[in-house]
Amino acid sequence: MATGARVTDGDALVRFVTEVADGGEAADGARSRLEDRIGADATVDAAAVLANFFMMTRVADGTGTPLDAGSVAISEDLRAGLGLDDLASRRLVPVTDG
């Protein structure tokens, strides 16, 4: 994912998320570095999406939200590729037969 998943300026967007999440010195200048790359308005919107998913992760993990039934099978390769099956919150996946 660090390379940006073949999305335009994806590497810069992922670096921004990582730096802001790490906080401290890592976050210093993260905003201006992204602005230099994608512009001021797009940086506001990137920060807004980031902020939204800091919220949604707390909703999901604070309430024991299970993965939607339709997403379990289709996300199998993605979960394996990103190591998501190793996360503590993987326990939220409903148990299925077979």
Binding site: V44, A48, N52, D61, T65
Partner: protein, 227 residues
């Protein structure tokens, strides 16, 4: 001189959403008074300032960390801190223990909504190197204490309505006020509800949908969120 997001000239729907969430936290909710809701928001900021506290240590277990006259019960303070700093470590066992300190269980759902919304506002401010929006003065009045008909514990740890939509939307359905806070922010910060699945090319003219979803996925990953 620094400023809050409300002092910027950025798009009005974003500013209106942030202003509305802060204002609503200062009003009575479904199960918590306005003063308690503001205390939850304040405790969230206290937790952010102590993000180095490991997940296995709860404020209630550290002498002097919770003042005797604190407006929130110890279980609520502990839940705020864990949700704020370590949501990816939460387990069903943790929930079963913490929920014993909430009466009714729906009041925990309201707390999750407040913490999640505050985390969104404060993370945005940090990302954009802004001051935090000051917490509101608590208004008077009592919580409505109106339970939602038909909620039950089925798919989630918490009681839900089970409306058939995405599970993460159903998560706060037992407390519509909490769900409103989250949906208000989601429409302004992420993608409007009608475009979520109905228009996969939707954009505000800045980031395209692929860029939006990449930021969403990267943020979920750094929070170790499986969902």
């Amino acid at each position: 001189m620094t400023a809050t997001v409300l002092d910027t000239g950025w798009r009005t729907d974003l500013l209106d959403a942030h202003r509305s969430v802060i204002d609503r936290i200062g009003q009575p909710g479904t199960w918590w008074t306005a003063a308690e809701r503001v205390a939850i928001a304040a405790e969230h900021r206290q937790a952010l300032d102590h993000a180095d506290l490991p997940p296995w240590e709860a404020p209630s277990g550290i002498e002097g960390m919770i003042a005797p006259d604190h407006p929130l019960p110890p279980a609520a303070v502990d839940a705020v801190w864990r949700l704020t700093n370590h949501p990816g470590t939460l387990t069903e066992d943790w929930y079963r223990t913490i929920i014993a300190g909430f009466d009714p269980a729906d009041s925990y759902v309201e707390l999750v909504g407040i913490v999640a919304a505050m985390n969104s506002l404060d993370r945005f401010a940090a990302a954009m190197e802004l001051d935090l929006i000051p917490l509101p003065d608590a208004t008077s009045g009592e919580p409505s204490r109106e339970p939602v008909d038909g909620v039950s514990v089925s798919t989630h740890w918490v009681p839900t309505v089970g409306g058939g939509g995405p599970n993460v939307v159903d998560a706060l359905s037992a407390v519509p006020d909490a769900l409103d806070l989250v949906q208000l922010l989601s429409a302004a910060q992420y993608v409007p509800p009608d475009a979520l699945l109905g228009d996969l090319s939707w954009s505000r003219g800045t980031l395209d949908r692929g860029q939006i979803e990449l930021v969403a996925a990267a943020t979920s990953l750094v929070n170790e969120c499986f969902y």
